[in-house]
Symmetry: C2
Subunit: 250 residues, 2 copies
């Protein structure tokens, strides 16, 4: 019996690519490239610091990943400019269907569990207005590690008082789907890029640019041994799934 | 006082891109793309499984990463074909300067510490003929995790009987440099792609292809808080460094 639905934030409720316009304005012609490398390095640094046991909060990691990205391109930005771009992560746009989907799920306890620092998540949720749907906004910073480490997912039980079998976890991020499933949650994956669309995009490898590479690396289900219980094309499909009592195979 | 010099294998002594020809022969026009995504996913899966605590040996991870890569492109390969391509990882070409560099370091104890499984590493070292220079070939499989987890680096002490201050660790991989330095080794980074060359390659982001993206993500020093003691342009520079007694700033 599912009581709570816990959402990933970046890429699931919020479009991480929506920061691209801000970056493009600052570095014309380079917005897409910087945004893609920045996001990939941000995730890498969370995994590497998790492995090394040298935790730093997600804002620091996000800033370091941006400094790396600008650095390899030979672009200059002072500390205030870096901070300003990082602040853009607190104003990401929710996916268009997010508010309606959360409304349709109001009979459940709803929450976020995210790699973001508590401060980043408060700003993000306040700015987007999604806070009114959410009972809790959980940051992994309390566990001093990142997803997919089991200690990160364990915060859900500590905060909501629910064992994993009472929780549906929702994410579009392959590593997060695998981590949440491995931890013991029922998991719904939001498929933001269909396998067919990606296959078509990669049909001519010589012409694949940064967007295609990003989608090749980040948009599909991972092969690390844990498949989601549900694969949905958008957050909107969660409502009917809840109505049907989350029956597997629905 | 440095007694042993311990090398990373993939990307440091052996050119991971040298498998590209085999892949290209099997999938014409797609060799570069497949090889780049395959390598990136192979590393990701090692980090993610390390974070999740769900270890699988590096051969399994390598095969899964290849299956992922072919899958997103809609390419078919049966199990025997996957295995055959993975076997190609055991026949990687050493960098041209590797044998001469190891010869020049013969007054030190020399070893490999690699993510590769014991079986993969034995095959790789035998095939390339570098085994004659090496006292030990250490696989992280004994620690059941991957670099940059500290347990992986701790195998050096267990196997060679040396505390970290007696070890120079050599790697071209940014995450490995950071992990080894964080663990306590003296670290030499082999700079396979210079910052200047990468900057020039990324000057026109719209024209950057898969090779440029790979180098953007994988060839530079990471910003996760640990800088190497030495940055060298090739393995050849290790000889003079050893002659000079590894004085920092040399």
């Amino acid at each position: 019996m599912i009581e709570a639905i816990v959402f990933d934030a970046y890429g699931t409720l919020y479009d991480v690519q929506s920061v691209e316009q801000v970056v493009e304005k600052k570095f014309p012609g380079r917005g897409a490239f910087i945004t893609a490398i920045w996001r990939m390095k941000q995730l890498e640094y969370s995994w590497l610091r998790g492995m090394m046991g040298s935790y730093a909060d997600f804002r620091t990691i996000t800033k370091d990943a941006l400094a790396y990205t600008l650095g390899i391109m030979g672009l200059k930005a002072d500390d205030a400019e870096l901070e300003s771009l990082v602040d853009g992560q607190n104003r990401l746009t929710p996916y268009p269907e997010a508010a309606a989907a959360l409304t349709s799920l109001s009979r459940h306890r709803l929450a976020i569990l995210s790699n973001g620092s508590g401060e980043m998540l408060r700003a993000l949720v306040d700015h987007s207005g999604l806070g009114r749907f959410l009972e809790a906004v959980m940051s992994v910073e309390e566990a001093r590690t990142f997803k997919p480490h089991p200690s990160a997912y364990a915060l859900v039980q500590r905060c909501l008082g629910l064992t994993p079998d009472r929780v549906l976890f929702v994410s579009s991020n392959g590593f997060d789907v695998s981590g949440a499933k491995s931890f013991g949650f029922t998991v719904a994956r939001i498929v933001r890029v269909s396998p067919d669309a990606l296959r078509r995009e990669l049909a001519e490898p010589a012409t694949v640019g940064v967007g295609g590479m990003f989608r090749a690396l980040r948009s599909q289900q991972e092969m690390i041994g844990e498949a989601p219980d549900f694969s949905l094309n958008s957050l909107t499909e969660l409502g009917p799934l809840a109505e049907g009592g989350f029956s597997v195979g629905a």
